[in-house]
Symmetry: C2
Subunit: 430 residues, 2 copies
Amino acid sequence: MKINTYPQRESWSELIKRPVLRREKLTKLIAEIFKEVEQNGDQALLDFNKKFDGTELKNIKVSEEEIENAESLISNELKEAIQKAKENITKFHTSQITEIEKIETTKGVVCWRENRAIEKIGIYIPGGTAPLFSTVLMLAIPAQLAGCKEIILCTPPDKTGNINPAILYTAKLCGVTKIFKTGGAQAVAAMTLGTESIPNVYKIFGPGNQYVVAAKEFAQNYNVAIDMPAGPSEVLVIADQQAIPEFCAADLLSQAEHGSDSQVIFLSTDEEVFNQTIKETKKQLQELPRSEFTKEALKNSHFILLNTIDEALEFSNLYAPEHLILALEDFEKHIPEIQNAGSVFLGNYSCESAGDYASGTNHTLPTNGFAKNYSGVSLDSFVKKITFQNLSQKGLQNLGKTIEIMAEAEGLFAHKNAVSIRLKQENERV
Amino acid sequence: MKINTYPQRESWSELIKRPVLRREKLTKLIAEIFKEVEQNGDQALLDFNKKFDGTELKNIKVSEEEIENAESLISNELKEAIQKAKENITKFHTSQITEIEKIETTKGVVCWRENRAIEKIGIYIPGGTAPLFSTVLMLAIPAQLAGCKEIILCTPPDKTGNINPAILYTAKLCGVTKIFKTGGAQAVAAMTLGTESIPNVYKIFGPGNQYVVAAKEFAQNYNVAIDMPAGPSEVLVIADQQAIPEFCAADLLSQAEHGSDSQVIFLSTDEEVFNQTIKETKKQLQELPRSEFTKEALKNSHFILLNTIDEALEFSNLYAPEHLILALEDFEKHIPEIQNAGSVFLGNYSCESAGDYASGTNHTLPTNGFAKNYSGVSLDSFVKKITFQNLSQKGLQNLGKTIEIMAEAEGLFAHKNAVSIRLKQENERV
């Protein structure tokens, strides 16, 4: 923990710095993996499974039977929780569907936008310590709502060659069309290039380790889109005198447990709340599993005492946190001051976990300061908005001269002629 | 012109291929330019101006006086045309402003999204043969509507050290805050890193040559966002028996004149219209300036006779054109079939030039097949959509168990604890 009381404003630029990512240059390795997958398809993926995960599989594709069985392998309690979360996420993302609105910009000139789903999308779900079925919810639900025809999912199998049943159950529940047992950069390569079993997709979503991140970047060379640039997860909490230190500490720790590179920032204007939160954080830490990760993450965390809430919000806007918690009495008043944040949690009972799992908002959010220029994942991430226009003969009469003058001024005479030839023909007809 | 009558479906994959871009590996050169700008700031830009454009400037920044003077250097006719276009573009992009809609997903759990402008954006406008003031309209208008605080524009000066007055006039009219005389990769570097005069920005928009395109890609290493990946411009026209060959030819040529790498595709189901359009294209070509570009572009163009309109739309969806013109009698009927396109022009009087300049839609559109996974520029391109949530005590009671079960199943106990500690404290208070 790094503790700062009333730091000089000159020191802020130091305080808002992210831990430097030691991202190795993986391009060469990633290029080799892509080449391998391009040449050998499914067999390459099976070989990688053997090499990296120690599993010998016959099929990359998860069978219908495995998917059906998954349902019986998880508790009813968990199934109900997943269904409840699905319901809320569906409600919130459904509200993001926009109606077509036709605008007559000039008499006879009508313009509008229509959404079309990205036809084929891929979801990557990491293996490792936590089976992230919640991320399946966050990506497959809006994909299905948007109308994506092909929603595929790749995730590495465990040592026994299986996928966590909660992931399979959630994937089926949310309309994932095909599931594959493959992880790492090779999974991204497969979704980019296609193999015998795995269809190539137009956009790849989901978190992953440095190899997956590098592979997603590399995939863009093949004209595949990705959800957003990646970085470690982070939270910034702003607390005033009415904040409850136990709650603040729990929120900070819930972020810190994500990984040793997670970042946690606590800003307060109240000395008592500030000191109590530090104390509580240390206390609660003792009681947690995963505490090695958490301790490591806390080393990079900042606890900063400031003079005013306005100052805290200014700091937050400079930092641009992925998650922002306003543990403030009059949070409503401060909403307009928020410029840069991924997702905002208001008041003492809006803990980050709510948004991580079940309130309905999406948990795939911009990290690493990208909240300055990127939005989190939403229904919009799964569609293209196509513009349409229809000019009547009268419409072109009304606007034609304007277009001709502008095209000529830009020296684009064929552009001008496309209008002139229409206006001329019309005159001849009259 | 490549002419195909009723090609076998197996040959389509060949026909939809874009001309291969001989994009040289410019990374090393671009990295050097970024380093130079980082170290020497404005002076580096002045040196580049001297080296590449042969101009010796004292100031990078366009003066207030130059901007004021621009107004007197262009005709009233052009000013009025620009104002009319601005009016339509403003109308259409204003319609893209969304209301805040609060959704109660579970009793006591309220979620919504609010837009916040990207605070600082940069617009690049190429120099060269055409002064693209229309692109200033397309990028500065939505930036201003979105509420971007800093809207800067970089464009290379001409041999005399000046910027085309139509660009200056349009920039002022649309709320550009600062204009700089710098072009190429160094302009992108300056907007990314900042110099003494040029503020760094969070997102860079605008077209450019291969150096600019490579520099925009490189800028992303510095966490700057860009509008979209680049490629040469293109149009696909679908014409039935009622289409007017003169109009179709004019539209094809207006696209071809953009540059020798532009691509032009004509699909028809009517042999008469097909043959006449080929004839007309050759005829009109003779009467155009810029015909060297245009001729070169036409070499890569495809004129394809097909059996049905459905087949033509299927072809178009595979190609995913930047601009799609439906010169069809019953275009309404075919709108739902359109899956992949940047912008669609309906009927005989909706020429592409209308959307390029003045109808109101944006002309910054996905090329090179990116219409499969990217939208064109819109108001959305200049904002982040931030999610908000407020859970009341009762709300967390209603949803808490769901969150706890899911967090535990993912092995994230601190996430669970952030809920448990709140539910527990509440019980104690009761």
